[in-house]
């Protein structure tokens, strides 16, 4: 450490200490709601596994993104409802053709070492994220943002410096897009677009994310990082909105086993943890203020393999439909999972913004009618007790996937006399089998990339890389293409959902819910945020 740096570090430490002492008193009540605040403002939460990276350029998982959102701040943040609020950027202007965005940055944003956050930091970070040298698994996000030359930079055909982002001056950032993208500003709350401190990254290389090296611009700074065990971040006194931060210290603990995590939560060691499948009713009866279930933007489904050369039985749409009808989704959501999930008859999650769940005939039938219809369809297709259908079902190793598979295989057996062979595959093997078409029926789960129905339905497109069923339907393709430019695509989405119900390339089973335990005194969690984008700086603990 150079002398200057040591001085800075000491100053920062003193500042933290004094700030902490001052705010413990000054903020004895919440500035807006007036609630009395707890003296200990430490938020401890559980994750199941270590994140691959907490470098904004490399971050790829949900837990890592939450850490990055605390440590760094991008152009915009989300509020509790998911709307954009200013971050480093105060506002932006869009050119008439929708291709040029000009952002005005605040002049009081600072790095944790006292440097000012400038437009140049964003330019550096974005060029870095796209560069083949960093080889970020999330570099495609830059391409998805349609930034000029993004694709060519990622492919290594053009220099990163040609990326369509320029610092006009320290507080003005210009971004040029290759095509108009109405939801471009919404994409800026993702970690990949967050700034990094160039001097630090260049000095320490890969090691710049270590607590002793990291310089960050978010509401918190990294103070301790022991992979697979804990990550601690503490209030950043240099943060421009530090006065309104209440939580002093955030501790992320890696607890691989969710039952152990629950034990530790109940022992008071955690402020937040996941509820194991099937335990929500019991916990919400016992701890009504703590067990919370909110919709989560994912759909759970089974897919059929419709490739040429896949087993012939399931190429008959009636067989597939019979299998779909015979699944009693109410039992799955109410008994097996019992965490506020909803039975699914459409692929698109019911809570997706702007999406009206269309009327699918199956959804309104009783299970007895569905079963009768299923038996009828399967008999027509030529299967019965003398010629039973047998199916292979693969799922990836996980307790709740297993429970669902067991229940469904028994529904098929008890209702239709279908013999199901269950195969539980470890994740990588499963992914490979699924993308190579080495299955008959496979479990699938899809989470929204953005809050609009096409994030789900685009999977049904013949050419989609995620269409592991290989469902090919020219009409669906046309409907989806038309929806992209349509002012009101709901009608198209209805038709696509009807096709899914009719052809049954996949069986929608349920729509996810996030089921968690939250400490009683923890407030400010953005339950309404469909994407579960949370910031520690918005949380606080009230006195008990």
């Amino acid at each position: 450490m150079t002398l200057k740096k040591r001085l800075l570090a000491t100053t920062a430490a003193v500042l933290v200490a004094t700030a902490g002492a001052v705010f413990a008193d000054a903020h004895a009540t919440h500035p807006v709601t007036g609630e009395a605040l707890a003296s200990d403002q430490t938020f401890t939460y559980r994750v199941g596994d270590e994140s691959p990276s907490i470098d904004p350029g490399l971050v790829e998982d949900v837990d890592g993104a939450a850490v990055v959102r605390d440590l760094f701040e991008g152009l915009y943040n989300q509020d509790a409802a998911g709307n954009l609020v200013p971050g480093v950027a105060l506002s932006h202007a869009v050119s008439d053709d929708g291709l040029i965005y000009t952002f005005t940055l605040r002049d009081n944003a600072m790095w944790s070492n006292g440097d000012t956050v400038t437009a140049g930091d964003f330019v550096y970070a974005w060029q870095r994220a796209a560069s083949p040298a960093l080889a970020s698994p999330y570099s495609w996000y830059i391409e998805l943002m349609s930034i000029e030359n993004g694709a060519a930079v990622i492919a290594g055909d053009m220099e990163p410096s040609t990326l369509g982002v320029t610092a006009i001056d320290d507080t003005t950032l210009e971004v040029r897009l290759s095509q108009p993208l109405p939801y471009f500003p919404q994409m800026l709350t993702h970690g990949t677009t967050f700034p990094v401190h160039q001097a630090t990254v260049e000095e320490f290389g890969n090691d710049w994310v270590l607590p002793e090296n990291m310089v960050s611009n978010g509401a918190y700074v990294l103070t301790e990082f022991v992979p697979q065990e804990r990550l601690v971040r503490e209030r950043n006194p240099m943060y421009w909105d530090n006065d309104n931060t209440i939580i002093e210290r955030v501790v992320k603990l890696v607890v691989p086993d969710e039952n152990v995590a629950l034990t530790r939560y109940l022992a008071g060691e955690l402020d937040m943890t996941d509820v194991p499948a099937g335990q929500f009713p019991r916990l919400s009866a016992q701890y009504p203020d703590q067990a919370v279930s909110v919709p989560e933007a994912c759909s759970y489904y089974y897919m059929f393999n419709l490739r040429d050369g896949a087993s012939p039985e399931i190429q008959d749409p009636n067989v597939r439909k019979a299998l779909s009808l015979a699944i009693d989704r109410d039992i799955i959501v109410n008994n097996v999972l019992a965490g506020g999930q909803k039975a699914a008859y459409t692929f698109t999650h019911w809570a997706t913004a702007g999406f009206e769940t269309p009327d699918i005939p199956m959804a309104t039938m009783t299970q007895a009618d569905r079963n009768a219809m299923a038996v009828e369809l399967l008999t027509e297709a030529g299967y019965g007790s003398d010629n039973p259908l047998s199916i292979d079902l693969v799922y990836n190793t996980n307790d709740s996937h297993r429970s669902v598979a067991i229940a469904i295989s028994q529904m098929w057996k008890q209702t239709l006399g279908v013999d199901t062979t269950l195969a539980n595959q470890e994740w990588q093997t499963f992914l490979e089998a699924r993308s190579n078409g080495d299955f008959e029926v496979a479990r699938g789960g899809w989470c929204a990339d953005y809050n609009e129905a096409s994030t789900f339905l685009d999977l049904m497109q013949s050419e989609s890389g995620y269409n592991d069923s290989r469902y090919v339907n020219a009409e669906v393709d046309a409907l989806l293409a038309e929806a992209k430019t349509s002012a009101n695509p709901q009608a198209n989405y209805d038709r696509v959902e009807e096709f899914i119900a009719q052809d049954t390339p996949i069986i929608p089973i349920y729509h996810y819910a996030a089921v968690d335990m939250f400490a009683e005194n923890l407030e400010g969690w953005p339950y309404e945020n469909f994407e579960q984008t949370w910031y520690s700086k918005d949380l606080y603990k009230i006195a008990e």
């Binding site: 194991p276 019991r282 008994n335 307790d399 229940a407 028994q410 529904m411 269950l422 470890e426 093997t429």
Partner: protein, 309 residues
């Protein structure tokens, strides 16, 4: 991974050498001594009972092991308490299936994994060791160096890799378990073979031109029998424990089949919610099986190696 300790087993072999001299009387002696060991006899009876449970328990079960009662699933699992009236003698598991039928099946599979795993280890180990010992010289040197090398490999790690890579199957489990545990057997068998091969009956066989393979199979291996039996008996419970660890990692047998290890693992996840029966019954069978094998193994060793007492 715990293997029966080699030094303890080696004593038996020394003793077994006497078998040639005294003929069959040693086996008779051993039987008498074994029958006098109360713990061992009771354990043997328990083992037979457990095996009987695994074989015929299915006849008593009121449900198939894979039949799901949808009203007792997941959040309603607390209704699946053990009861004679409902026919769920051991209650149901958290997926609404009859735990009695599943325990019967799990016990069977665990016993099979244990016995077959031990057999694989013992057969491979004995043949390998006997071959090395019989040929001696350079071949022996190379074969035993290979054993030394393999012993230094952390096979548990390799096994995890193998199960991850080739997908789980009972076959893979046997192979992996066998791989881990034949090395000790090979060393013991080789040591004994070195002494047996100088006996007259082997020399006669060599002189009359009997082929080496035949000599190994006909003359040497039968004389290793005592040590092999003891080693195998002590190996079985270790195999069962080992399988339970594999099940814990989620790499055990495929649903709807199950093993005691898998059942215990599921039960241990729900015990904090008060579904005590889901762990109690499988754990009971697991514990008595292993107890019994240990005592029978100890009894056999003592019976075949009288100097211990």
């Amino acid at each position: 991974m715990m293997l029966p300790n080699r030094a303890a087993v080696e004593g038996i072999a020394e003793n077994m050498q006497l078998a040639d001299v005294k003929g069959r009387s040693l086996w008779a002696d051993a039987r008498t001594r074994f029958l006098r060991n109360r713990a061992a006899v009771i354990s043997l009876i328990m083992l037979c009972a457990v095996a009987g449970f695994a074989l015929f328990g299915g006849l008593v079960a009121q449900y198939e092991g894979d039949f799901v009662n949808f009203s007792l699933i997941g959040s309603n699992a607390y209704l699946g308490v053990p009861s004679i009236e409902t026919g769920h003698y051991f209650g149901t598991d958290s997926n609404g299936r009859d735990l009695f039928a599943r325990t019967v099946q799990g016990t069977g599979i665990s016993l099979m994994v244990g016995v077959v795993g031990a057999l694989v280890a013992v057969i491979v180990g004995t043949l390998y060791g006997a071959t090395a010992g019989y040929y001696g010289g350079r071949i022996d040197g190379i074969m035993m160096r290979i054993v030394d090398v393999l012993m230094s490999i952390p096979f548990m790690f390799v096994l995890i890799l193998m199960l991850v890579i080739f997908g789980r199957s009972i076959f893979m489990l046997f192979l992996g378990i066998g791989l881990i545990s034949w090395l000790d057997m090979a060393r013991i068998a080789r040591g004994q073979t070195l002494t047996i091969k100088n006996k007259e009956f082997v020399e006669v066989a060599v002189a009359t031109g009997v082929r080496p393979i035949r000599i190994i199979l006909r003359h040497i291996v039968p004389n290793l029998l005592g040590i092999v039996i003891v080693y195998a008996t002590l190996l079985v419970p270790n195999m069962i424990i080992f399988e339970s660890f594999i099940s814990f990692l989620g790499l055990g047998v495929q649903e709807p089949a199950t093993s005691l290890g898998a059942l215990i693992n599921e039960g241990s996840r729900t015990m904090q919610f008060g579904y005590y029966w889901q762990i109690a019954f499988p754990l009971f069978f697991f514990v008595i099986t292993i107890f019994a094998f240990f005592f029978v193994g100890d009894g056999l060793r003592d019976a075949l190696d009288p100097k211990d007492r």
